[in-house]
């Protein structure tokens, strides 16, 4: 059968979301951020809420998220995305407001903001991308770096004696009564991506129900920072990160 006979709009089963701009993402090859951006675009498109969604982008690799997804965006100071999202949601309660934050943003400089936003039960969605490293600045140790993991600032491996243990943000936030939904997902395999999309749709919909904060942690890779190929990084993540950060729902009150 001739391929040109198949490749037409009628037979199209999967393509780039209309909400993604044509601009090429600046992320390194194989970076999980790209897949997660794509999931946000697909979720917003599927729910038909493009005109009603406001994202808050972080400081870190995902700082340019507003250049890639065709919705309204704000850019927060480092770690302060939940505070900005709080104000946005309170002023515009009918909008879907979400923050997109990495582990250097949310789990380090912004720990206070996220804990208090969740404790107040702000009706927002938080997308937390945890790749256990500071990707943008050159692969330094982050609060979520695994015990024994080598980074540019822990060349002999992180030691919990001097640097503490990897911080389990999602488990900590699940304890707060204001939080309605906490889940941990990944985007390393097609099955994981499909599951993550369902979780993201659920998290956005929980804003309609006004149940409190919805929190999705993505266990993600940083192939450049980890100094691995993208496929190796995905394998390494499954073998090592999943022990400390196992995927699955942690809390579900929706």
């Amino acid at each position: 059968m001739d391929l040109s006979a198949i490749n037409n709009e009628t037979n199209k089963v999967y393509g780039k979301s209309k909400l993604l701009f044509d601009k090429v993402m600046h992320f390194c090859p194989g970076c999980s951020h790209g897949t997660i951006h794509k999931l946000i675009a697909e979720t917003v498109e599927e729910l038909g809420i493009q005109e009603h969604t406001i994202g808050v982008s972080p400081v870190g690799c995902a700082v340019l998220a507003y250049d890639y997804i065709d919705i309204d965006w704000q850019e927060a100071a480092h770690g302060r995305a939940p505070a900005l999202a709080t104000a946005t949601k309170r002023l515009l309660p009918d909008k879907y407001v979400f923050t997109y934050q990495g582990d250097g943003d949310l789990a380090s400089i912004g720990t206070g903001e996220i804990i208090h936003a969740c404790n107040r039960g702000e009706n927002i969605t938080v997308i937390f991308v945890n790749n256990a490293i500071y990707g943008m600045t050159g692969g330094q140790m982050a609060p979520t770096t695994l015990d024994g993991m080598k980074t540019s600032t822990t060349p002999a491996g992180r030691s919990h004696i001097t640097s503490g243990f990897p911080m389990k943000i999602a488990d900590m936030l699940a304890l707060l009564p204001g939080v309605a939904y906490v889940t941990r997902q990944s985007v390393d395999t097609p099955a994981a991506v499909r599951k993550a999309k369902k979780a993201m749709i659920k998290a956005f919909k929980s804003q309609e129900l006004k149940r409190g904060t919805s929190f999705i942690e993505f266990v993600a890779t940083c192939p450049s920072g980890w100094k691995m190929t993208p496929v190796e990084a995905n394998r390494w993540m499954r073998e090592n990160m999943f022990q400390t950060f196992p995927p699955g729902d942690i809390k579900d009150l929706i």
Binding site: M1, I6, N8, Y14, P29, K38, D188, P190
Partner: protein, 71 residues
């Protein structure tokens, strides 16, 4: 089912995540490079494609479009 993929060559970064995701071994990295200098993903066994969309779903840069039809 008969499937087919269309890769936006200029946008592909050659991360090869799609190759690991393809259950039928349709995709491989090309020996040629694109404008960015990456060995891009190419359908080397197009006849084996079932149009399952796995490759496109894991693609971080959304460069793969999948078509499927009943034969």
């Amino acid at each position: 089912m008969r499937g087919s993929i269309d890769v936006s060559i200029d946008l592909c970064k050659g991360c090869a995540v799609c190759i690991a995701a393809c259950p039928t071994g349709v995709i491989a990295l090309s020996s040629a490079v694109n404008g960015k200098g990456y060995n891009y993903a190419a359908a080397v066994n197009p006849d084996k494609c079932t149009g399952c969309t796995n490759c496109a779903i894991v693609c971080p840069d959304a460069v793969i479009t999948v078509y499927r039809t009943k034969v």
